[in-house]
């Protein structure tokens, strides 16, 4: 078994961890760094529950990323979005539009939506639906999720807080 000592920045906090070669980023985030806001869903890159952002707000599947390959990388999870008690506009829109049922997909959905709005601040409904492919909601509450992304897009113009997106 190979051991690797890596430096990560998780939600702005530097972390030095020793990981095994076969450990995924998801496993290390949840079980070593206690970042349990990142969810395990399918483990095969299909449901998007484990979506985190790396530099430049690029979404990746933590379940399909070997932790040992992430040395020096900066990772943002849903817990790193809020600015103190002020929620990120995407989080606030998910609350306001009730885009949450059981809530399990929500961390991944929020991160994917943040990535979308960072790339394309004014997406059409079709663009939102296309971009959210790869994130599955078991409760099938897609209409409200799409609405929340539209609300967040409208509100992002006024947003001036936080250091992400």
């Amino acid at each position: 078994m190979s051991h690797h000592t890596i430096n990560l920045t998780v939600n702005g906090m530097p972390q030095t961890v020793t990981v095994e070669g076969n450990q995924t980023l998801l496993e290390v985030l949840r079980e070593t760094i206690d970042q349990t806001d990142v969810k395990y869903g399918c483990g095969t890159g299909e449901c998007g529950a484990c979506t985190v952002l790396v530099e430049d707000n690029k979404p990746i599947n933590a379940c399909l990323t070997l932790a040992a390959t992430m040395d020096g990388r900066s990772i943002t999870t849903v817990a790193g979005l809020a600015n103190g008690t002020e929620l990120h506009p995407v989080q606030q829109a998910f609350v306001d539009d009730f885009a949450i049922q059981c809530g399990y997909c929500t961390p991944g959905m929020v991160m994917k939506s943040v990535a979308l709005l960072s790339e394309n601040p004014n997406p059409s409904e079709d663009e939102i639906r296309h971009y959210l492919e790869g994130n599955i909601c078991r409760c099938t509450g897609y209409a409200k999720i799409v609405k929340a992304v539209q609300t967040a897009s409208d509100n992002m113009v006024q947003y001036a807080g936080g250091d992400t997106a």
Binding site: M1, S2, H4, E20, G21, N22, Q23, T24, E27, Y40, C42, G43, T44, G45, E46, G48, T51, V54, K58, P59, I60, N61, C63, L64, T65, L66, A68, T69, D71, K112, A115, H130, Y131, E133, G134, N135
Partner: protein
């Protein structure tokens, strides 16, 4: 077997190419080089024996994507599908490849999966690899004892998930010639929803002189153990006017060149039914 925890394996993460070549030279076929890992990790989680793995993600200077009229497109081994999608050169000069990048899996996967990795997985259902095949790509391999070796993609796929890469070799680049005069390309595929793997896919590269086709490379996926070139169909196109009669002849020939099977995504019967339709549509899309 679990999708949560990977079975034990040793992972090497070399920091430069000489170190990677040393590892490959020592381990030979007992180690699997892996880039984005989006497909390999799923395979390992679902029970494929992982053995040892070598991540190439820390190798410097391999994430380039460049184009010029002499060298064509050069794609480093770590250039991602997302990089292809964001390249105006790919969009304007290689529309088939750009389309394959656009429909490729999900945005999370596009950010980690690489074109070189997609080709070396040698899946018969590969989308980006099907277009690289139609566009006549060349792979560059390096090894400790053999130096550099170029392999044309026509000589890459040797069987299901098998390539002509030697165990000691590291793939460093995929290059695609600059588009020839009057060239067109297109890519289509059949799926239930976009993020599915294809039931069938088609990539076409054509060079046209007016209405006459002077060069054709046609590739179909999901209809054999590897992605398949369609040489009989290509021969019908080359030197002919691409009119209804030629397209009908091509459509009537494709089933002589493919060997589809029933699997979890489709049936041989369905694939044989849609292969002529989608081949014709792809050629027409390239010409439009």
């Amino acid at each position: 077997m679990s999708t949560r925890v990977l079975t034990n394996f040793d992972l090497q993460v070399p920091k430069d190419i000489p170190e990677a070549l040393e590892i490959l030279d020592n381990y030979q076929d007992r180690i699997t080089p892996v880039a984005g890992g989006s497909d390999m990790l799923v395979a390992w989680k679902l029970g494929v024996e992982s053995g040892n793995a070598m991540s190439v993600t820390a190798l410097p200077d391999l994430n380039y994507l460049t184009y010029d009229d002499n060298d064509g497109l050069r794609v480093g081994a770590l250039a991602t599908i997302d990089q292809l999608l964001n390249s105006d050169d790919v969009k304007n000069k290689y529309p088939a490849l750009w389309k394959a990048a656009e429909i490729f899996a999900t945005h999370q996967i596009k950010n980690t999966a690489t074109l070189v990795g997609n080709c070396l997985r040698a899946s018969p259902a590969g989308d980006a690899s099907a277009t690289a095949y139609a566009l006549g790509a060349t792979l560059t391999f390096v090894s400790k004892s053999g130096g550099e070796r170029k392999v044309h993609i026509d000589d890459l796929f040797t069987g299901y998930a098998q390539t002509s890469r030697k165990p000691s070799e590291l793939a460093t680049e995929l290059s695609i010639p600059a588009p020839g005069s009057g060239s067109r390309s297109a890519f289509t595929r059949v799926t239930r929803v976009n993020e599915d793997l294809a039931k069938l896919n088609v990539a076409a590269y054509l060079e046209m002189d007016g209405d006459t086709c002077t060069q054709a490379r046609l590739v179909m996926g999901c209809v054999g153990p590897t992605l398949l070139r369609l040489p009989k169909c290509e021969a019908l196109l080359k030197g002919s006017k691409v009119d209804d009669a030629t397209l009908d002849a091509v459509a009537n020939t494709v089933n002589d060149e493919i060997t589809p099977i029933d699997d979890q995504r489709s049936t041989a019967e369905y694939r044989r039914s849609v292969a002529p339709v989608f081949l014709k549509r792809t050629i027409l899309k390239a010409l439009s």
